[in-house]
Amino acid sequence: MAAYVASLAPGPAIPEDQYLEATGDAAHGGELFRINCAMCHNAVGAGGALTEGKYAPVLKGVSAKHVYEAMVTGPQSMPVFNDSNLTPTDKQDIITYLAYMDENESAGGYALASLGPVAEGLFVWIFGLGGIIAITVWLAAKSN
């Protein structure tokens, strides 16, 4: 079936296995990810919203092959990142960064799905301010 699809039109080949191993430079991959990917997929790959209900998917637990193929083909709303933009080694570094983020949990405690200021702000508004209000009410109340 893959051969039939390939006969219909030219397109990028299935990536070579050597670029799919998470053995690249995670720090460089992180820098490339923040420049090229993070605006849609979130700085740690937690996904994010686009216009009119479209969204950039979560990248946690996605296979390296899938990530690589998405970069060269640009599925749905995603633009294409060809080999002169991000070289195969660059792509491997990005895959290494994503694998690193998968393996290492947030050092700062519970990450609230890594969604950033909206989730964190909501948490603080409800539990932080709620706690402060509760303590204030108790402080001002007369004892029985």
Partner: protein, 347 residues
């Protein structure tokens, strides 16, 4: 304070001068002072058993604080921060919980003590008049007169006038020094690093981009040639000069006649700095050709000179006129023709 209350407190404190309302508006329908709510006796005052219980509760809270302090000390030793970043998490969590318990135990214990066991009676304190008594005011005037007499301030004109001059000029050096604190903005908001012939290079490597590299549907995050090698003011320049490069089908582009020459073979370059409040706009949707700003959802249409199609931005993203040089690399025709980024005072 309502007029009636003032009268009352005046009587109470024995002021002899006339009541003045000043700027306050005195209501015609005065609300009478409801007085204090009836006193309610606490359980701890009625029953010694309850008082004993409350005493124990306060002691338990203070003991909890002691436990928290020891726990925090123990946690600091038991969960050290090592090379592994994940150890920060356990360290912060347990150390923080110990310290929270230690501090909250003291605070809650002290308040509980005050609320249940310390004397319980209501006190009302009337506000005193802001105007001093006639004697005090007269004494103050005397002091000023005496000071004038002794110093000769009114009498010695020469001293007085030279002192005025000295005081007036004294802040002058400070004004000059403060004026030099920062650089004058000048026209730096109107110009970026881009100029005629500057190559478009990849962020962050600074590798120049050939027009043939930019395939259909591609997005390149672009910085001007030379920025990658900068050491000083690199971020300031990048914040103004960052550009997004996209290739569209030539027939999808709806270009103004005057700006037709700004694109090259369907390749267009736009400032990445949102015209609303300056976030980097870079969420490019390949099929709708919309650019979305993640901060406030301003949406720009890349096919029509990045005009605003949704959101709070009020101006199109500035377009960078581009072309190719003899070697096929993309270069800028000039700087942006309008200031990039959010509106400011003089535009």
């Amino acid at each position: 304070m309502a007029g009636k209350d003032l009268e009352k407190s005046k009587e109470a404190e024995g002021f002899e001068h006339e009541f003045e309302s000043g700027l306050a508006v005195i209501s015609e329908t005065k609300i009478s002072d409801p007085g204090l709510a009836p006193h309610r006796v606490r359980m701890t005052d009625k029953s010694p058993k309850h008082a004993k219980n409350a005493e124990r509760q306060v002691a338990v809270l203070f003991l909890l604080s002691v436990v928290g302090s020891f726990f925090a000390l123990w946690a600091y030793v038991a969960f050290p921060i090592t090379e592994d970043l994940a150890t920060v998490r356990a360290n912060n969590l347990w150390l923080g919980l110990g310290m929270t318990l230690s501090l909250l135990g003291i605070g809650i214990g002290a308040v509980h003590w005050a609320k249940t066991l310390m004397p319980d009676f209501e006190v009302s304190e009337a506000r005193h008049q802001t105007r001093g008594s006639e004697d005090v005011r007269a004494a103050a005037v005397e002091i000023v007169k005496l000071a004038d007499q002794e110093s000769g301030f009114s009498r010695r004109k020469l001293i007085r006038r030279t002192m005025y001059g000295a005081l007036a000029l004294f802040p002058l050096p400070a004004l000059i020094v403060f004026g030099d604190l920062g650089p004058v903005v000048g026209d730096s908001l109107r110009h970026t690093m881009w100029k005629k012939g500057t190559r478009l290079t990849k962020d962050p490597t600074g590798i120049p981009i050939k027009a043939s590299d930019v395939t259909l549907g591609s997005v390149f995050h672009v910085i001007p040639e030379g920025l990658a090698e900068m050491h000083e003011h690199k971020l300031e320049e990048k914040a103004k000069a960052a550009v997004l490069l996209v290739r569209l089908n030539q027939e999808d582009l709806k270009e103004d006649e005057a700006k037709k020459s700004w694109s090259y073979d369907g390749i267009v370059a736009y400032s990445k700095i949102c015209t609303h409040v300056g976030c980097p706009v870079a969420l490019y949707e390949q099929h709708t050709h919309h650019l979305l700003c993640p901060c406030h959802q301003s949406t720009f249409d890349v096919t029509e000179h990045c005009k605003v199609v949704f959101g709070p931005a009020s101006r199109s993203l500035p377009q960078l006129p581009i072309t190719v040089d003899a070697e096929g690399y993309l270069i800028a025709q000039s700087d942006f023709l309008e200031p990039v980024g959010p509106s400011f005072w003089e535009r």
